[in-house]
């Protein structure tokens, strides 16, 4: 399974040179195996998806964790949607108040966007998921609701030889009084023994104290979560838009100085490519 990181910024894209190293695009990850492609979230990083690398592929599955703008703002600029030769499947969390189509249409319609979903020339199929298991090509995928405002899921993607877990927006500490009992930790089943976990780490521990309930995670809590889940490799993502590269380097250095986790952990950066074997 190949993982390509296209967007790591939380909340809003940044174009500041001071965020250029880790990157300013919002959430988007490309997962590929055996000529099948999954896109995880449609943030602004989605525009960097290069079709020329994959000219034979005509089916693309876009798995949305939720519908906050930083996770869907790239969809309108995704060229395969405007190509009738493409078969696009969009998977997203269900809501008991409105359909996925209705919620996506709030963005993909005037005045926010000039093109309506029904006018997209590709073959488009929408799939509503909840705590679900489903298969796409070689991937076995589990989705589960996790703690974050509005319906939000995380994904556990099992390929032929490896497991990748993606939970970019998550506040496990909000529901966990005791961060040691796995039964009471949101999202833990998705991450157990994963080869790679890409997890929300928007705040420093100090910042998180002022932002409890905002739906995001401190770097410290993300690392604790990964440790409890016994993952092999943790990538911290959804970087706060106010954090410069220098500040991110200081925060990860501080985290490493205060902890001795045995697994590998680092900050996710745009352009990273990881192959899980």
């Amino acid at each position: 399974m190949k993982i390509s990181i296209r967007g790591v910024r939380g909340s809003i894209p940044t174009t500041d040179p001071e965020t250029a190293y880790y990157g300013g695009n919002t959430s988007c990850i490309v997962v590929s195996e055996n000529d099948w492609i999954l896109l995880l979230d449609g943030g602004s990083g989605m525009q960097r998806f290069n079709l020329l690398e994959n000219t034979n592929i005509r089916r693309i599955d876009l798995l949305l964790t939720h519908l906050h703008l930083d996770h869907i703002q790239g969809i309108g600029f995704f060229n395969p949607l405007f190509d009738p030769s493409f078969d696009i499947h969009i998977w997203g969390p269900s809501s008991n108040t409105s359909s996925l189509h209705s919620r996506l249409s709030r963005y993909l319609s005037p005045p926010l966007f000039p093109v309506l979903i029904r006018d997209l020339p590709c073959k488009l199929t929408l799939h509503e998921i909840e705590n679900s298991s489903f298969e796409i090509g070689p991937f076995n995928i589990e989705s589960r609701f996790v703690i974050h405002p509005s319906p939000t899921v995380g994904y556990r993607i099992t390929g032929e030889h490896s497991v990748f877990t993606y939970i970019p927006d998550h506040e496990p500490a909000l529901g966990s009084l005791d961060f040691y009992n796995k039964k009471w930790i949101s999202g833990i089943d998705l991450a157990l023994s994963a080869d790679l976990l890409l997890h929300d780490a928007q705040y420093s521990a100090q910042e998180y104290r002022r932002k409890v309930g905002w739906g995001h995670c401190s770097m410290d809590d993300a690392a604790k979560f990964a440790s409890l889940a016994d993952v092999k490799h943790l990538l911290l993502t959804h970087h706060d838009p106010s954090h410069t590269d220098k500040q991110l380097n200081e925060l990860i250095t501080d985290l490493k100085n205060r902890n001795n986790y045995l697994f590998n952990y680092e900050l996710a950066a745009e352009g990273m490519k990881i192959e899980l074997t």
Binding site: N96, E130, N131, F145, I147, W184, I188
Partner: protein, 130 residues
């Protein structure tokens, strides 16, 4: 297997409240009670952990104002577990040690985003009058 997030968040809320709160799974097993509830139950959650329905239901007897034992289908939590609706009732509880107390109980179902019944919550109040 971790609990659904709706259960997890109810526990977090219960931990912040000064009223005794009991949280059960769909079959009535007690999966969490907060510190004020520990005083009602006479036990600490840290010590007991989760309790089977048949165990914790015998911790106290429920009586009406005349001393008649209440049947399970007269108790708010049992009714919530049965039909997934909220209920409220004031009655007398007698602990195993014989201590009697008048309480009001409000119970409500936890029905999650998927529309699925996930468990129930019972909140105990000290009523102004029976």
């Amino acid at each position: 297997m971790a609990y659904e997030i709706e259960i997890i968040l109810n526990r977090q809320l219960a931990d912040c409240l000064s009223m005794p709160v009991f949280i059960t799974d769909t079959t009535g097993n007690l999966i969490f009670y907060n510190e004020p509830a520990e005083k009602v139950l006479g036990a600490r959650f840290e010590d007991t952990g989760e309790m089977k329905a048949e165990t914790w239901s015998t911790v106290f007897k429920q009586q009406d104002e005349t001393g008649r034992l209440l049947q399970p289908d007269e108790l708010p939590l049992m009714r919530t577990l049965r039909d997934h609706y909220p209920y409220h009732k004031t009655f007398r509880i007698v602990s195993l040690k014989g201590n009697a107390e008048i309480i009001s109980v409000t119970s409500y179902p936890i029905i999650g985003r998927t529309g699925k019944f996930l468990g129930a919550v019972a909140i105990f109040w000290s009523p102004k009058e029976l």
